[in-house]
Subunit: 231 residues, 2 copies
DNA sequence: AGGGCTGATTGATGTTTATCAATCACTGCC
DNA sequence: GGCAGTGATTGATAAACATCAATCAGCCCT
């Protein structure tokens, strides 16, 4: 592991509060691997052998069933993923692939479970991480059930704008086809949804968006009264 | 609290492994309340003051946004709900109402958090409960994103049949309008979905269903390769 | 037994979304 | 610069789903 990244991983909410020596044991038992773009890291149904921590790059979690597939989450560095499968020692419910070249810390699932039992702070952080993830999914599910596609896009834009500093400008990091899949629609419909939002306070120029009329956008997208949790 | 129900609550995965005296402290600080049917227990956006344990009756968790609303989960006894909001000390993301007269144990959220910090077994059980809940939601979200309505119904029938003993017969406990909302469709479309399944191995007689051709039903509904977790 | 309620079903129609096909815009490459 | 390749967009059509309206079946009344 390089000098620069250990502190960054150590600052993750998941590992931040635990004992230093326990954290060292986790690092010592893990592998930092480099993966090329478009590589499948694991597939749905496999047994969960590693907790993954994306150190650098970009990863897509997706699920497939009945031929179709859909992206469940876009993982940005630095963050861990598929904690729930590791904790429960059960098969993955999602597949993962790199979108770009990525460096990933692989922590053996057995080691994670062992250290959780040993270090209460780690257990508490795990519990909290799972609770926050649970709430994210509740939001995602209600979004999918209650809003139609252009409204979902509007809400995503509002959230991104907040996360990107509240300047009224939003830059889309992911390809639009990926964004479409995340929002549960086709790329064609995403295009049209952007068109719709053009009449509700959003200006689109490629991957660069501008909110020109927040009130109009909010009236259209009706964001949740409860704002997304801070992780 | 009556004599008969304490053991039942104590057998909940959440409380089963913890220390007896800690469990007693939780019970001592909680209230067992009786609620009439159709009563709203709490609403989305409120601060989470209590962990709820449904002892007897039936409760609906639902979310609403933009005028519309949708049921997120039907809670059957004996089980706890709304654990994630309690753990994170954040506002509810769902509302809850009784469907029938219900008895519910209300455990003050502060007390839950305090006892979690004190009793590692309780923390571990909480962690596990959240991880399993997380996985349930992943399944629900992929189901919603990847399958169309009749397929979702088919899968629900297959799951229910398993849970009800694998005899090929399924009895629907909830009203169909509620089932429709849980599946993210209108009651009208649920009716039509039953009609569709009639040609794929399902026989419908009111709330009593029979799977007459499991292979056909599975071919149509394409159940997940990973079976629902045991809780 | 008759009337009124509630939930389920059925049919007709409209909206939303997906699919199919074509074109456009951009990038990298030789 | 020209040209393939990829992703985004646009238009036409079809499928899935919602909505609206009407009817039906069961149930509780008194």
């Amino acid at each position: 592991m390089r000098a620069g990244e250990k502190p960054e991983i150590s600052q993750l909410p998941l590992f931040r509060e635990m004992g230093d020596s326990d954290r060292e044991r986790i690092f010592a038992g893990s592998f930092l691997q480099v993966f090329p773009p478009q590589l499948t890291l694991f597939e749905l149904g496999q047994h969960a052998d590693f907790l993954h921590v994306l150190v650098d790059g970009l990863v897509e979690l997706y699920a497939s069933s009945a031929g179709r597939d859909t992206t469940m989450r876009i993982v940005e560095p630095v963050s861990s993923f598929i904690l729930a499968a590791v904790v429960t020692d059960m098969p993955y419910l999602m597949s993962a692939r790199t979108l770009v070249a990525s460096r990933i810390l692989l922590v053996p699932a057995r080691l994670v479970r062992e250290m959780i039992r040993q270090d209460v702070s780690l257990m508490e952080a795990t519990m909290r991480e799972l609770a926050l993830g649970y709430r994210d999914l509740v939001r995602a599910l209600t979004d999918m059930k209650l809003r139609q596609s252009a409204e979902r896009l509007g809400n995503l834009i509002l959230q991104q704008e907040l996360r990107q500093g509240g300047t009224g400008k939003v830059r889309l990091r992911a390809e639009k086809r990926l964004l479409a899949s995340l929002l549960g629609m086709t790329p064609e419909n995403l295009s049209r949804a952007f068109g719709v939002l053009g009449q509700h306070g959003v200006e689109v120029d490629g991957a660069q968006l501008k909110i020109t009329d927040r009130a109009a956008l909010e009236a259209f997208a009706r964001p949740d009264p409860v704002k997304p949790d801070e992780h």
